[in-house]
Symmetry: C2
Subunit: 196 residues, 2 copies
Amino acid sequence: MNKGEATRQTILERATALASQVGLSGLTIGGLADDLGLSKSGLFAHFRSKDALQVQVLEYAAALFIDEVIKPALRAPRGEPRIRALFARLLIWPEHNDLPGGCPIMAASVELDDRPGPARDALVSQQKDWLDTLATLVRVAIEEGHFHKRVEPAQFAFELYAIDFAYHHSLRLLRDPNAVRRAQAAFEALLASAKV
Amino acid sequence: MNKGEATRQTILERATALASQVGLSGLTIGGLADDLGLSKSGLFAHFRSKDALQVQVLEYAAALFIDEVIKPALRAPRGEPRIRALFARLLIWPEHNDLPGGCPIMAASVELDDRPGPARDALVSQQKDWLDTLATLVRVAIEEGHFHKRVEPAQFAFELYAIDFAYHHSLRLLRDPNAVRRAQAAFEALLASAKV
């Protein structure tokens, strides 16, 4: 990584942490420059526009999610154990040290739904990839004989995503001390309905 | 309703529609005054602060939700039919004519989670009321003998809320043509797990 690339990574790390708190639309090149003690023109050289900054923050957050949630889960045995490992990672993800405001992608999902543009396009593409990843893990669990053949992978993915959304809401907005327990119970019920 | 109150209602209706698109933090008294062709000082007389405006928009949206979703469902017979009626209303709620950007309360749930203040406090209180309402409907379904005694009302409420969250995401962000079907299938699975 050369110096320019290292600076860009530092900026994106900080921008992603900020976006987790104030949302993507709360990020401005000027505000970020002040926060980092860098010149606005220097930041413009890296990102050129607010759109480009937003897209790169989404990409940075997605890469972090892949490293922290998906890759470790893929090291678990195929099928149900892998889905359990993924869910365990999802439970700790919104409390990642680099994300003081929880998951910035989940925040952006609500923030950008009515804002056409490159950031929304990037987000929709990421979200479809994520649902496809979940559906693939379900297909593997069917192949391994852990889940019934009648389980519809995309439906299971929707329901797992639903639990994750409600968990984030319960944890971050309601500060509900039962958030983890509720999410785990919902996940066990979903698994039980799918298991052979 | 006197003239001042009627004007206040008109302003809140427009502010709620805007909040559904740009979020509560995107609302400003100046921007709203421009949008409505009213003077900024006139709007200040009604709302006094951005905090007060946000709280009143949340209250306006919650009152609309009660009128459009909860009250009609309460006219259905007690127990499972009432929960089914509520869910049917939840499916059409994000496409309400007065809410071009979907449910403003759901948007605020993500937007305000890291923003302490009166709007967050009002929202948390509303959300707890909503989960309590759901739990009460479940208790009634148990009393009526439609649901098992072992169903935990707050857990069922969490899972129903989860489906609603994922439905909103699928409908509004992903524009998934299967959004209604997925939400209905998840709801039927949840009901089936609770039924005697």
